[in-house]
């Protein structure tokens, strides 16, 4: 078969057309997508603003828990109580009276 014959045959091929109203249906498809109004985005605090104080308090808590220093309020009270009891105990009452009398 020659090229010219093939071209003749190709010229008889269909020229299909979409159904009536197809363009309108297609246009209608995109319309709803355009009408969607998105909710305004909620403002959230920066993760650093939340994370930094949390991390700091965690570190402080661990340090206070692990350290056996006088900064621990519990230690201060206990040591004070023992100190007081040793210096002002019942056994020292006589010595204190004698000191006051002299």
């Amino acid at each position: 078969m020659h090229d010219r014959d093939l071209d003749k045959l190709l010229s008889t091929a269909s020229a299909p057309k979409p159904s009536v109203g197809f363009e309108q249906r297609l246009l209608a498809k995109i319309a709803p997508a355009n009408n969607i109004i998105s909710f305004p985005r909620r403002k959230t605090a920066s993760p650093w603003l939340i994370g930094l104080p949390l991390a700091a308090s965690l570190v402080l808590g661990v340090w206070l828990g692990a350290s056996n220093t006088s900064l621990n309020p519990a230690n201060i009270m206990v040591s004070q109580t023992i100190e007081d009891s040793t210096s002002n105990g019942f056994d020292d009452v006589v010595a204190l009276i004698e000191d006051n009398l002299t």
Binding site: M1, D3, D5, L6, K8, L9, L10, T12, A13, S14, A15, P16, K17, P18, S19, F22, E23, R25, L26, L27, K29, I30, A31, A33, N34
Partner: protein, 197 residues
């Protein structure tokens, strides 16, 4: 100073595509009006089914609307839509049961008995079937250049191949058609010559 509104009827495809990137519905409508028939024809040549062709045409345009940035050259939008439609129709075929395709081929062959006196409608059906049976890329190249009158350069750009590769596809498509139509080529030619007289 306010920007002058674009007249979408005389805009180039590149200008329309830029507007579509801004989700301009009017520009998109203009693109649809300009190209939907060509995109539909490309899909139809692959499946010869009106409903599938309309589905695929719609899907191709929606792909563009939802993600216009995937189109690199706005001037090549027509070819891009054609290629997307062709890919979509092939995906659709792959999903269909093989039996359906075999049935369709059987009906096409049965429409033309060998010794029948052919009329123009039979010749058209035979040519349509021959084109539909071409390998996917050959059919797309032939449809773009022969039926939709894209230049070789535009068609090659749309298919993302070199012009040489496109010309090779076109040559193979014509060779394939000659082979497919070889047996009843004379009969077909006689029919269209007789109808033309």
């Amino acid at each position: 100073m306010a920007a002058t509104p674009l007249n979408f009827q005389i805009c180039t495809d590149a200008e329309l595509t830029t507007a579509v990137c801004r989700q301009d519905q009017t520009a998109f409508s203009a693109l649809i009006s300009r190209h939907y028939q060509a995109v539909y024809r490309v899909a139809w040549r692959a499946c010869r089914n009106d409903a599938d062709s309309e589905d695929v045409t719609q899907e191709a345009f929606l792909k563009l609307w939802n993600n216009p940035s995937q189109l690199r050259d706005g001037n090549a939008v027509k070819g891009w839509l054609m290629r997307v439609a062709s890919n979509l129709i092939m995906d659709k075929f792959r999903q269909k049961p093989m039996q359906e395709l075999e049935d369709a081929a059987h009906v096409a062959d049965a429409s033309m008995p060998a010794d029948a006196v052919l009329d123009h409608a039979h010749v058209t059906a035979r040519i349509d079937a021959a084109i539909a049976n071409l390998p996917e890329r050959q059919r797309l190249a032939l449809t773009m250049v022969h039926f939709e009158h894209l230049t070789n350069i535009a068609a090659a750009a749309a298919m993302e191949i070199s012009v040489d590769a496109l010309e090779s596809l076109l040559a193979r498509a014509r060779r394939s058609l000659k082979t497919i139509l070889a047996d009843d080529g004379k009969l077909l030619l006689a029919a269209i010559t007789r109808d033309g007289d």
